[in-house]
């Protein structure tokens, strides 16, 4: 039994935002208690006064690199980073080696996570075999093995026909297709957002239209097929506008963005900073503002980090040759909390973006809420704690982050996954082995 005492309990699923106490028992949320804290609680007590107590955060877009690239990250290190960042669940993408296009790979991930994970792992399987964009994977077997969604993330599905078929075929079963929306031809050879920074640095550009065209395509195909589609890492103004339009039209289209797209612009590339290289690329200020607007008005359903670990040497090279992606599990929460400033975003909406939203999108039962009977996944957030993100804080095997050295505000004080404390910076709270 575990009592989290005196925190501000923010649970958008049950429309709760009030100070109180949360009791966990047998791996589940038992109850919410208002008023005086229970005296003589017969179990462990975490004093959360001044903190937020929220449903365990869910990062619906990470790359754990296992199997195949364990030197970049593995399930153990990735989930430790997740726990440190306040995440109790992560959805891992399929671009491993072998690709997660076979139920054996899905089962391997789940087994490994059960044994070694410091957070829940929800595998996302590939849409097409080998991410080759040619033949669909066996959706049913993969879903039965535990895949929560399908995505060829990292390698956009070039064929509109195949995308149409995938959405259409998946529709009756309610499987979620997620897309890395990018027209590979328009993006070909590019290494940075097409714009002034790329021109100034002489880096070949990726036009915003490469993303916009593909997002428009997914939306039109969802309309055509009545299927459901989730757009991953939206980074452009037009992408947000298209998503908004699709929602207004009542289509089953959702979208996520990553903190880097509402925090940074391509100006971060100055000096050929390979730690600011990613795909989609960091865009211009107008795009950044539009992504923020999309978060504020509810167009964007979730914030996901696109945590993409890479070893030093594939970043320590000429810019165009450098690998794409940045780690994000430990910075996603504070960068999202930064949006609270000015009062535009409520704590409840932050929790929606980082927990309840992803749980709904991925249909994760028992996740994303603190209502009685839910899984005992809880994040205690110290929203005012100021800290600096230093290389030695990084729990990933890779340190490719443009946010190293940043002064951040707000962090996970305690991360509880299945009633076990997986991370704690709060004095007196021990981590369960």
């Amino acid at each position: 039994m575990l009592l989290i005492r005196g925190g501000r309990i923010v649970d958008p699923a049950s429309r709760r935002d009030e100070v109180g106490h949360l009791v966990l028992e047998d791996g589940k949320v038992k109850e919410f208690l208002a008023g005086e804290a229970p005296g003589n609680f017969p179990g462990r007590v975490i004093a959360a006064e001044g903190m937020w107590v929220v449903p365990g955060l869910i990062d619906m877009h990470v790359h754990l690199r296992e199997p195949g690239y364990e030197w970049k990250e593995d399930i153990r290190s990735g989930t430790l980073a997740a726990a440190a960042g306040g995440f109790t669940s992560v959805a891992c993408m399929a671009n491993t080696k072998p690709v997660n296009d076979h139920p054996e790979v899905t089962r391997f991930l789940l087994d490994k996570a059960r044994r070694e994970g410091a957070a829940n792992v929800f595998p996302v399987a590939a849409v097409t075999r080998g991410l080759e964009g040619k033949e669909m994977t066996d959706f049913t077997e993969l879903a039965e093995a535990g895949a929560v969604a399908f995505s060829d993330d990292g390698k956009p599905v070039a064929s509109a026909l195949l995308m149409r078929r995938a959405m259409e075929y998946a529709r009756p079963f309610g499987y979620l297709i997620m897309t890395h929306s990018e027209d590979p031809e328009l993006a070909e050879g590019g290494a940075a957002n097409e714009g002034w920074t790329a021109q100034k640095l002489g880096i070949p550009g990726i036009p915003a239209a490469a993303e916009d065209v593909a997002i428009a395509r997914e939306i039109l195909l969802a309309r055509q097929t009545g299927g459901r589609v989730h757009i991953q890492h939206v980074s452009t103004k037009m992408g947000v506008d298209l998503l908004r339009m699709a929602k207004r039209a009542g289509l089953a289209v959702t979208g996520e963005t990553a903190p880097q797209y509402f925090t940074l612009t391509d100006a971060a590339l100055e000096g050929y900073n390979t730690n600011a290289k990613m795909n989609p690329p960091l865009r211009g200020e107008e795009d950044r503002m539009a992504v923020l607007e999309g978060i504020l008005d509810g167009t964007i359903d979730a914030v996901a980090s696109d945590h993409a670990p890479h070893e030093d040497y594939v970043k320590r090279c000429e810019f165009v040759a450098a690998a794409n992606g940045i780690i994000g599990l430990q910075t996603s929460l504070p960068l999202t909390l930064a949006l609270l400033a000015g009062g535009k975003l409520s704590p409840s909406r932050v929790v929606d973006l980082l927990s309840y939203g992803p749980a709904r999108l991925l249909s994760l039962r028992g996740k994303g809420t603190l209502s009685p009977g839910a899984d005992a996944d809880v994040t205690v957030i110290d929203p005012d704690r100021e800290w600096e993100f230093r290389p030695e804080d990084v729990l990933s095997k890779s340190k490719n982050s443009p946010f190293l050295g940043w002064k951040l505000r707000g962090r996970a004080a305690v991360t509880i996954c299945g009633e076990r404390v997986r991370h704690a910076t709060l004095p007196g709270v021990d981590i369960d082995g």
């Binding site: 090279c317 810019f319 040759a321």
Partner: protein, 310 residues
């Protein structure tokens, strides 16, 4: 003024007085080149390595000549592998060369920013001899030098650069060297090769060569890479030549004393008509001659030369 730079990576952060200082130094180098014995001992005992990851006979030869005129030991190292996937990384290659203790590394690389990257990891001086579509600083300086010699000034001149602006490192360096010294810069090319963002540099953009050339003092024609046609930046070389080739009729719109420049190698009959390439107003070979003097100046200054022609 005192020279403090350890590297010449690009002209983007060169102050006007630094540019003038290089030009002044190049003038005294050019004087050396008029002597019977075209060699001075300034860099005796110093080693210059030309590390070229892209084929370039003329730039490499020019740097080699410049080093030898200054009595440096010059070693050429060429490699066609420049990708991390094809074996040795750029940093490993460069570190191997650095272990042989050169004083100056002259690097040409297809990736923008490659020299900047190496400058953060190596201790020798680095000269950028062209990186991707970023900069070609010695070309920017030699273009300035050539124009100064012909016109006596650059401030107020209308200088048109015509061709593949998108992929040109010469343009980016020229905008710094010529633009910063007060020239009115015009950039001209097919819209597919003329990024609109370049107007942020203060240059005027047009896809009409007549507009660019009209009343121009200097016309710099860029080499059109023949393979660009395959990626459909324009319909055909024939069409390109018709729209963007410089011929007598177009050239007649320029000032009477206008000069023609080209960083080479020329595609005769494509971007530049045969007769114009060799006409009296062509400075193309003057550019090549200036190139040696300017590169001597850069090597000299980087190797610790404190003398300027004041």
């Amino acid at each position: 003024m005192e020279w403090r730079r350890r590297h010449v990576l690009g002209l983007s952060d060169f102050r006007p007085e630094e540019i003038e200082f290089v030009v002044d130094t190049a003038r005294s180098m050019e004087e050396v080149l008029t002597r019977d014995i075209k060699k001075v001992p300034a860099l005796r005992g110093k080693t210059v390595v030309n590390l070229f990851f892209e084929a370039s006979t003329r730039t490499r030869t020019s740097f080699e000549m410049a080093g030898k005129r200054l009595s440096a030991d010059v070693v050429n190292f060429s490699s066609s592998t420049s990708s991390i996937t094809k074996g040795e990384t750029l940093l490993d290659t460069a570190r191997n060369i650095e272990a042989m203790k050169p004083n100056i590394l002259v690097i040409r690389h297809p990736a923008s920013g490659a020299p900047h990257f190496l400058s953060r990891h190596l201790s020798c001086s680095i000269v950028n001899a062209g990186d991707g579509a970023n900069e070609h600083p010695s070309q920017g300086l030699l273009d300035l030098y050539t124009i100064l010699k012909a016109k006596g000034k650059v401030a107020g001149l209308k200088i048109a650069i015509v061709g593949d602006i998108l992929h040109s490192r010469v343009v980016r360096s020229d905008l710094h060297s010529l633009g910063r010294m007060g020239a009115k810069m015009w950039l001209c090319g097919p819209a597919t090769l003329l990024p609109q963002e370049m107007s942020r540099t203060g240059a005027t953009l047009t896809s009409d060569i007549r507009e660019a050339v009209r009343e121009a003092d200097v016309i710099i024609m860029l080499r059109i890479q023949l393979e660009r046609q395959k990626t459909s930046y324009f319909p055909s070389l024939r069409e390109y030549s018709r729209r963007y080739g410089l011929n007598r009729a177009v050239f007649s719109l320029a000032k009477d004393d206008a000069v023609i420049m080209h960083p080479g190698p020329i595609n005769r009959g494509v971007e530049l008509s045969d007769d114009l390439a060799d006409c009296g107003q062509s400075l193309i070979l003057d550019q090549v001659a200036s190139g040696v003097a300017v590169r001597m100046a850069l090597l000299y200054l980087l190797a610790g030369g404190s003398h300027a022609a004041h």
